[in-house]
């Protein structure tokens, strides 16, 4: 029984990996002050494209590179329309997400159901035999390992390095970043495209690994991009919190499947759909400290309890980069 749970948990880590790529990509983009709302479409399009390229070229690497390139290109469209043409990022992103989704289904039609390559599992010798941890973390494929590295690297870059601090500054107050010597718009282009490339890798991670193959509308990827956007907010634009959010979502999904036999009287759809409202609840919990009625409710509690809850809520609370979604004009 323990073994089954352990394998299940290892599965959660694997399932969360593409969401982590997408979420961290979006986190980096939004840290620079740009919203890339096209995630859902980008993931579908790159899943299809990555799969097709891998099938045609028989190269997994080329499949991923194709995904990254397409993701970066979609991000470039967002960057150009919002930074250079100063159009609404929300409107453009929304249209792009629909366009990319339909393109994926349309262009992917001839390749539906083809057999394709799949990333092999790559247990790390020496580490894989450590009890518990070995099964959980070191009997995965290379992209899962890369997702661990990505979490740490993104965190380190944003919070520990000089360019990372400037990245925060650009999204927070571009005018102040500008007087400190930043080329705000160029950096926004670069970070938007890097973020887009990371999102573009998430697609093939599904079609070449987690949900291998391309099955058109029943591939079951529609919606993942929106979840990644929600997790970006849940994660407070912090890669480690975002990763935690991705694991939480994967756990909820897994529970939905595992618990189904034990709750025969509940329609199976309820458990399948449950992770989505639960994510909304989680979001609510994270940001509940921002609301006035909580302040009012807390005011009625005894002092020690009030202070404790207030501290927990403050620690959970997240605020978006202040200039998120607004173009920067240097006077």
């Amino acid at each position: 029984m323990n073994e089954i749970i352990l394998i299940g948990l290892a599965g959660i880590i694997a399932v969360a990996a593409p969401i982590i790529f997408a979420t961290i990509g979006e986190t980096i983009t939004e840290r620079a002050g740009v919203i890339n709302l096209s995630l859902n479409g980008t993931i579908l399009l790159t899943a299809m494209a990555g799969f097709v390229v891998s099938v045609k070229t028989d190269s997994l690497l080329l499949g991923f590179l194709a995904g990254a390139a397409i993701g970066a290109f979609v991000a470039l469209i967002i960057a150009f329309t919002s930074i250079t043409l100063k159009q609404s990022q929300v409107a453009v992103g929304f249209v792009l997400t629909l366009l990319c989704r339909d393109l994926a289904y349309f262009l992917g039609n001839p390749f539906m159901g083809l057999p394709g390559p799949r990333i092999p599992s790559l247990p790390i010798s020496g580490l894989k035999d450590i009890p518990l941890i070995g099964t959980l973390f070191f009997k995965q494929d290379i992209l899962v390992y890369l997702s661990f590295i990505l979490i740490a690297a993104a965190y380190w870059w944003i919070f520990k390095t000089r360019p990372g601090l400037m990245l925060q500054g650009i999204g927070e107050r571009p005018a102040a970043a500008f007087v400190r010597g930043a080329n705000v718009n160029r950096m926004r282009y670069i970070y938007t495209m890097i973020g887009g490339a990371l999102v573009g890798i998430a697609g093939p991670m599904y079609s070449l690994s987690a949900k291998a193959g391309w099955k058109g509308t029943i591939t079951g990827l529609d919606g993942i991009g929106w979840i990644a956007l929600a997790i970006t907010i849940f994660g407070g634009w912090n890669p480690i919190r975002a990763a935690f959010g991705a694991y939480l979502f994967a756990l909820l999904q897994w529970l939905g499947i595992v618990l189904q036999p034990s709750f025969q009287n509940i329609p199976s759809q309820v458990l399948q759909v449950a992770p989505f409202p639960l994510m909304i609840l989680a979001l609510l919990l994270v940001n509940i400290g921002n609301t006035e009625w909580v302040d009012r409710t807390l005011a009625g509690l005894p002092e020690s309890a009030r202070r404790f809850i207030a501290q927990v809520l403050r620690a959970l609370r997240t605020t978006p980069p202040a200039s998120l979604g607004t173009p920067f004009e240097n006077e």
Partner: protein, 489 residues
């Protein structure tokens, strides 16, 4: 650092924002730059700090011809600017605010930065916690942080753009003390302001800007009238005071009494002449507002009689006052006076200039345009009132008043406004007095009350003084009355 500015020109479209400006600032001096809004002060400062490039002219730093390409370039040359709203990153820690923009390798050395910051702080006796988040600091502390940051980056010229707007009096003292220390250490400080008293208090020399030109320099001891004349191109003189013993009586109050849940004021006897200005002095909440509201029908009197132009207005509703040319301009411009979210044009439409059901937009637009011009409001007909500055909101409020008026009641007509707007508004009000309008106003600025009133009523704890002649009253005696001294019984 010695700063020489020579023959600087800058155009924005048709506007000649800087017209052949030259000045020299010696190391160790605090140079004041005085001028009303739009005089070209900020433009010159932005040229000096790299935001703009001059169309013509040159800048020399320590004698060396320098082209300043960007704000980041300016600080490399030793020119640092403290903006009115400090350009920092509120949700980030103080130490990160310092590191952003510091040149160096991939990984900043926080320990070294912290040590340098603490050393610098000690020099000025500042007490900013390097681990605090910037949004937990006061505006004054954020200014201190910016000054320290600029010094840390090697600034030898410090430009301050209207730095005293958002800070408390004690923080202002501290800022001025800091600037004096900096000047004594050989820094050049440029202090841009429209506040005469601050410039007079702080600066070693003052340049006055008007309409894009440097119209004159002054050295201490400063003569205020001379500076005012330079700023506005004309001196401001007042009409002679009205003799209240022999005049046309407009308002007649007999044993008037007003009250609210807290105060009861009774026995007000006063005759107000046409064209007279009555100032109401007293601590906030001593009954001035009560009295004003009674005069405009917004509050029912509880005793006595009120006549305006021979007619009995006792107990009449606000509407009748309004129709008899009595207007009231409340203190809170956006809450009671104007409607946030509506444009200037919409305000003029609402102010009842048009009758009928369907709005004639063209007509309204024309009217608004002419009023904007007459009242020199900085805005266009489509401008929403909340985006106007305080002075322009007040002008808009006055522009909305009907003409002619018999009685005009104002609460704090110039509170929060700069000197130019205040003077402009009082000129406008005095013009109205010439047409026979009587004015009653409240103000917490004693100088304003003494300067512009013909007679003054002092309010204290439910009591009202007899009218005092403004010409023979001093700030001191007024202050004593306001503080509750010198009242009989």
């Amino acid at each position: 650092m010695k700063v020489e500015i020579k023959n600087i020109h800058k155009h924005f479209g048709k506007v000649h924002a800087n017209n052949d400006i030259s000045m020299t600032i010696q190391p160790g001096t605090i140079q004041g730059i005085l001028g009303e809004n739009g005089a070209g002060k900020s433009t010159l400062m932005k040229i000096l700090s790299g935001f703009y490039q001059a169309d013509k002219g040159e800048i020399r730093l320590d004698g060396k011809l320098t082209r300043i390409k960007s704000p980041a370039d300016a600080i490399k040359h030793g020119v640092g600017m403290l903006h009115q709203d400090p350009l920092d990153f509120p949700p980030m820690p103080v130490i990160d605010n310092l590191i952003i923009g510091q040149s160096g390798g991939l990984l900043p050395n926080r320990k070294v930065v912290r040590k340098q910051f603490e050393d610098l702080q000690a020099r000025f006796n500042f007490k900013i916690d390097p681990d605090a988040y910037v949004d937990s600091l006061t505006v004054g502390e954020r200014q201190q942080l910016e000054i320290l940051r600029l010094l840390w980056l090697g600034a030898k010229v410090l430009i301050l753009d209207e730095p005293t707007t958002g800070i408390s009096a004690s923080q202002k003292e501290m800022l001025f003390a800091t600037l004096k220390i900096l000047a004594s250490q050989g820094m050049s400080v440029i202090f841009v302001s429209h506040k005469l008293d601050e410039v007079e208090q702080l600066c070693n020399q003052v340049a006055v800007f008007r309409q894009g030109k440097n119209v004159g320099q002054a050295m201490p001891p400063y003569r205020t009238p001379q500076l005012v004349q330079l700023m506005f191109g004309k001196s401001m003189e007042l009409a002679p005071r009205i003799d209240s013993t022999s005049c046309d009586v407009l308002v007649h109050m007999k044993d008037l009494a007003v009250e609210n849940y807290r105060l009861h004021i009774s026995g007000i006897n006063l005759d107000i002449c046409k064209g007279e200005v009555i100032g109401l002095a007293g601590m906030e909440g001593s009954g001035q507002r009560l009295f004003l509201q009674a005069c405009t029908g917004l509050r029912r009197t509880v005793g006595g009689k009120l006549y305006i132009g021979q007619r009995d207005f006792t107990g009449k509703p606000y509407h009748q006052f309004l129709n008899s040319q009595v207007s009231y301009v409340p203190a809170s411009r956006l809450e009671e006076g104007l409607i946030s979210g509506l444009s200037l044009t919409e305000h003029f439409i609402l102010a009842g200039e048009q009758q009928g059901f369907i709005i004639n937009r063209d007509k309204a637009l024309k009217l608004t345009e002419s009023r904007i011009k007459d009242f020199s409001i900085r805005g266009i007909p489509e401008t929403r009132v909340e985006s106007l500055s305080g002075g322009n909101q007040q002008r808009a409020l006055l522009a909305l008043l009907r003409s002619p008026l018999q009685l005009l009641l104002l609460e704090h007509p110039t509170r929060g406004l700069d000197i130019e707007s205040s003077m402009w508004i009082w000129n406008m009000l005095k013009e109205r007095c010439k047409t026979g309008t009587a004015i009653i106003f409240t103000s917490s600025d004693l100088d304003e009350v003494l300067h512009y009133s013909d007679r003054i009523l002092v309010f204290f704890g439910g009591k009202v003084s007899n009218p005092l002649n403004a010409g023979s009253t001093t700030v001191d005696s007024l202050g004593q009355l306001i503080g509750g001294k010198g009242w009989e019984n």
